[in-house]
Symmetry: C2
Subunit: 411 residues, 2 copies
Amino acid sequence: MGSINFEKLDKLAELSVSTGVALQQGQNLLITAPSDALPLVRLIAKHAYKAGAGLVTPFFSDSEITLARYKYASDESFDVAADWLYKGMGEAFDNNTARMAIAGDDPMLLSDMDPERVSRANKANSKAYKPARERITQFDINWNIIAWPGLAWAKRMFPDLAEDDAQTRLSEAIFMASRVNAEDPVASWKTHNQTLKEKREWLNEKDFKEIHFKGPGTDLKVGLADDHEWMGGASMAQNGVICNPNIPSEEVFTTPHALRVEGYVSSTKPLSHQGTLIDNIRVVFEKGSITDAKATKGETVLKKVLESDEGARRLGEVALVPNSSPISNSGLLFYNTLFDENAACHIALGQCYSKCFKGETNLSTSEISERGGNSSMIHIDWMIGSGEIDIDGFGKNGEIVPIFRKGEWVD
Amino acid sequence: MGSINFEKLDKLAELSVSTGVALQQGQNLLITAPSDALPLVRLIAKHAYKAGAGLVTPFFSDSEITLARYKYASDESFDVAADWLYKGMGEAFDNNTARMAIAGDDPMLLSDMDPERVSRANKANSKAYKPARERITQFDINWNIIAWPGLAWAKRMFPDLAEDDAQTRLSEAIFMASRVNAEDPVASWKTHNQTLKEKREWLNEKDFKEIHFKGPGTDLKVGLADDHEWMGGASMAQNGVICNPNIPSEEVFTTPHALRVEGYVSSTKPLSHQGTLIDNIRVVFEKGSITDAKATKGETVLKKVLESDEGARRLGEVALVPNSSPISNSGLLFYNTLFDENAACHIALGQCYSKCFKGETNLSTSEISERGGNSSMIHIDWMIGSGEIDIDGFGKNGEIVPIFRKGEWVD
């Protein structure tokens, strides 16, 4: 790991334990990570034990072993997943184990593999992962994702640099975006969380029925779900622990109404989807559903995505991010949603977040649907914000309130 | 991994898949390994998928994370173990997942840690590991252990060499002992297994009631359990797969009678037990139980071991290994039972193997006890063989049959 700043890496680890997952005294911690993130996992384990962790259990995946499977395994292999492991993880979460995930794999690892095999493996894994995923999406326990500057990922972002230099550049970009360059990252996140809290509380107080995006190639009215709640920054898991699931995170977001989106919208950054780059997306919505979709690059893949299921053509999330966010300022495309979704306002096709509703925490699928929440097997974020976007909120009594001007919060 | 011979490492991986675990078409494989054994695990995964594996799931432990726990965690941490993981592994084995374990950790990793913490962690882990351990000791599924030349382990064996050189030396010792230096290791193991089979079949046919070890400092009569069966080399798991659990393996072994061991015996090699070296052991047996125990080094630890429980003073295994075995010829002390037990005839204090009985495969605890099988929470092998040891078998009709002369098989 040649020239990654070890002191900053240590700060990132400490931040992820204290502010990210907010590990509690005596709480166990399950970490999933790429094998090359071992140096970061070791630092996290150290800080977790210092913070009073029960047991820290790391689980490493390895991209070479994944590729060996695609290269050598029989077709039947791709219908198999580690049911026993995910079921066990679900049990661990039921026993209040906290969860940390380290991102860092090559975003295009499988781009040259047989799509049929990729699809079979995804399907089998998605099914097997259900017991673990449910606990996470229901927010049963405190969790956190941070990133490790994986070499292959770094080379995708900086193809012209030597491997070591690319990794260093990516590590610095991660440190910047994760706010660990600050003297006191924990204090910096406290301030940042306060800002996000003020924004989301203001939006929740306004309780807009619709927000209106206007900019080059975009004139989109996004109706919001009944009882929608804006979220963002630190939030409380069902086990009562206030954590920051995503580091970095710059967004406030909520649930659109699946049937009330009208107009057209253009993407402002390329979308990296399972190894394919989809660029210059332009779609038209009628009654919440996409009726026309174009892209200058990756249009076939985009159209296939939209055909995943009925909900894939509708919105599951709308998120506001100022154009001056650190990630936007970096000008980098990370090919990773954890970062890229924090560079600009975005919308997501597909499944909505069940937690983005007021009042009761665990709404049933039909209760969510009644309120206008979308459901789908996909959830794909793409960027529609820029320095030229204006956003207005439409109140229930007809008032129009400016939210963003030229890509920035109005107040 | 500087100068480890990659071609031989690949042969070791292939051997472990084909001859060791004998992975079946469509069978899943669970691998446990130290994190630095990743290069070997990748090769095993490749060969496993080539052999038609369903899914290969590696689980890595990391000695630095273990040490961070001892350094930073609270006392309470040491009562916690990964129940969910071991329970899951048990389920995987119940679904016919094969198991491969990679040895390679520093044998003295915990030697400077608080013994109280070590003991608490061992106890908690041993309890949690039960669902997985039971499937392995009952031989429900095909399994295999091989070794990776871990750096810290190598430095223990070759303290005067530079790290890289020590690792190279250890890797060559592992390749030699595992018979991967042969042109065709799989064929070499076939021949080797045939030899072990002939020995164990001859011993089973003779059905000795007692075997008699004689040599410098040793005059020991080891009564054998009723219905004892000699095992060694390839054997069949309950799922019908013939595998080689240990690579290397040079022994044929069986169950002594817990009440019928008489005489005295001296160790011929030092015993490395949880970071302590116990040297020049000399013990006296009366009616199967050790009545006197001495050692020139580590005597206190030895005596503590004997006090673990009632069965700790009695024998659970007796094993025959010729003095000309490759590991004995190497003259190396590996500080690892997988290797050291294959350098000389040995006995083990504590728990017997339930599989070393004729007839029915799954004997109950009381059935084993009725036949003279010992039970204990420990199982510790130590070496009593050398080039000066003679062994005779005492038949049920009074005949005396020479088995070893000067440390070698008679026939």
